[in-house]
């Protein structure tokens, strides 16, 4: 058991900053990110073997942290505590400002899988291929979910593309 604790401590030292940064990026609050990083890592250390290879570990912990924080945002939004519109969106080429504005307005109305795609593309600025690898889905699925999100978002707020 002592060996397992040492491995967990080493993993937390190595990957904790990435989890914390991910949570900070999504939650925009240091204290909330601290709590979320701890909660995420409590989940991650249940499968320490997946943290041994950075190529496997990083996309995995990124996905777990993203889902965890999106859940927090969604739950907080439902309780009226925290608007989800605080997300800082990716700039640069890609979706238009109007599309990105839609993301912050209506993200909470979609299922987790669609949210993960919307955040990956619109918040993180990830390419479809890279995001597909992170989420463990096909590129086509990424594109399909993104299209569904944008279409649904426009319908929700009554905007035509």
């Amino acid at each position: 058991m002592a060996g397992e604790r040492e491995r967990a401590a080493e993993a937390y030292r190595t990957y904790g900053p990435a989890v914390y940064r991910r949570c900070l990026r999504l939650l925009r609050d240091r204290e909330a990110a601290k709590d979320a990083a701890q909660e995420v890592f409590v989940k991650l250390v249940r499968d320490l073997s997946r943290l041994e290879d950075p190529e496997v570990a990083l996309p995995w912990l990124y996905r777990v942290a993203t889902n965890h924080c999106l859940n927090q945002l969604r739950n907080a939004g439902r309780r009226g505590e925290e608007p989800i519109g605080e997300l800082e969106l990716s700039g640069g080429a890609g979706p238009s400002f109007a599309d990105r504005h839609l993301a912050t307005s209506v993200l909470a109305r979609f299922d987790e899988g669609t949210q993960a795609v919307a955040v990956g593309v619109l918040v993180d600025g990830m390419g479809h291929e890279e995001l597909a690898g992170v989420l463990g889905i096909s590129r086509k699925t990424v594109e399909r979910r993104l299209a569904r999100f944008l279409e649904g978002a426009r319908e929700l707020i009554g905007v035509t593309p």
Binding site: Y20, A37, Q38, E112, A116
Partner: protein, 246 residues
């Protein structure tokens, strides 16, 4: 820089070993990326100085706790041996028992679920209703086409446990051959019913979990009777009952 700047995830890889990072040249030549890396480094330093000391005990305690079930890297036997056994013993499991009167019906392509446990002479394919040690290690193999898969279990206490995929809100297409990882039963005697659910359209885990909870809600007898999960028409299902023995 005119090249597309790396994502945050790519920069996380970069920060693990900047000296050997393939992004080093881009980051050094791209002021916005240098700024991002500097900000990420500062946040990492904040983690090391304040967050890690305040939270590490809770994380390590979680790592030390006995777990009810967990995924584990399991090698049951050399791949060739497993394939041979699988070829001889793959079971096409019976479909779940007939639906209740209010059942909306299931359709979709056929699905087969094979469950293996280590035996004295290599992996053993389990039959429906077979007794297994209460803490048996399991591996899975699913055959299904053009659909996305969840594997889950329900027990006599009504607990629903997701077994595949380990993370994420959505099901994933079943990989060919045996599934990666495996599961360890919880060590508590009683019935445990495994379900493989494969749907042709995106099926949220929450929907599957709700259906499983409804199926498990009637106790051990309900679990043994093999109620079909109430899921959309395009979701195929296969199930296998295990009897966990002390």
């Amino acid at each position: 820089m005119t090249a597309r700047c790396p994502s945050d995830l790519a920069l996380e890889r970069h920060l693990l070993d900047p000296a050997r990072s393939p992004l080093l040249a881009h980051v050094e030549a791209c002021p916005p990326c240098r700024e991002r890396v500097a900000r990420m480094s500062a946040e990492g330093e904040h983690f090391r100085r304040f967050v890690f000391p305040a939270t590490v005990d809770a994380v390590l305690d979680a790592a030390s706790e006995p777990r009810r079930r967990r995924w584990f890297p399991l090698v049951l036997a050399p791949v060739g041996g497993l394939a041979a056994v699988a070829a001889a013993l793959v079971l096409v499991l019976r479909p779940p028992a007939g639906p209740p009167p209010d059942y909306v019906g299931t359709m979709g392509g056929p699905i087969t679920l094979s469950v293996f446990t280590p035996g004295a002479e290599g992996p053993h394919a389990l039959a429906d209703g077979e007794a297994v040690p209460a803490a048996a290690a399991l591996r899975f193999k699913v055959k299904a086409k053009d659909c996305s898969l969840f594997i889950l279990s329900v027990d006599g206490a009504g607990a629903v446990t997701r077994l595949f995929p380990a993370e994420g809100a959505a099901a994933v297409p079943p990989p060919g051959g045996e599934l990666p990882g495996g599961a360890v039963l919880d060590g508590i005697a009683g019935p445990e019913r495994l379900y493989a659910v494969c749907a042709g359209r995106p099926l949220p885990w929450g929907e599957v979990e709700r259906a499983a909870r409804a199926a498990a809600g009637g106790g051990a007898d309900r679990v043994r009777s093999g109620a079909r999960l109430r899921l959309p028409e395009n979701a195929s299902q296969a199930t296998l009952l295990l009897e966990k023995r002390p």
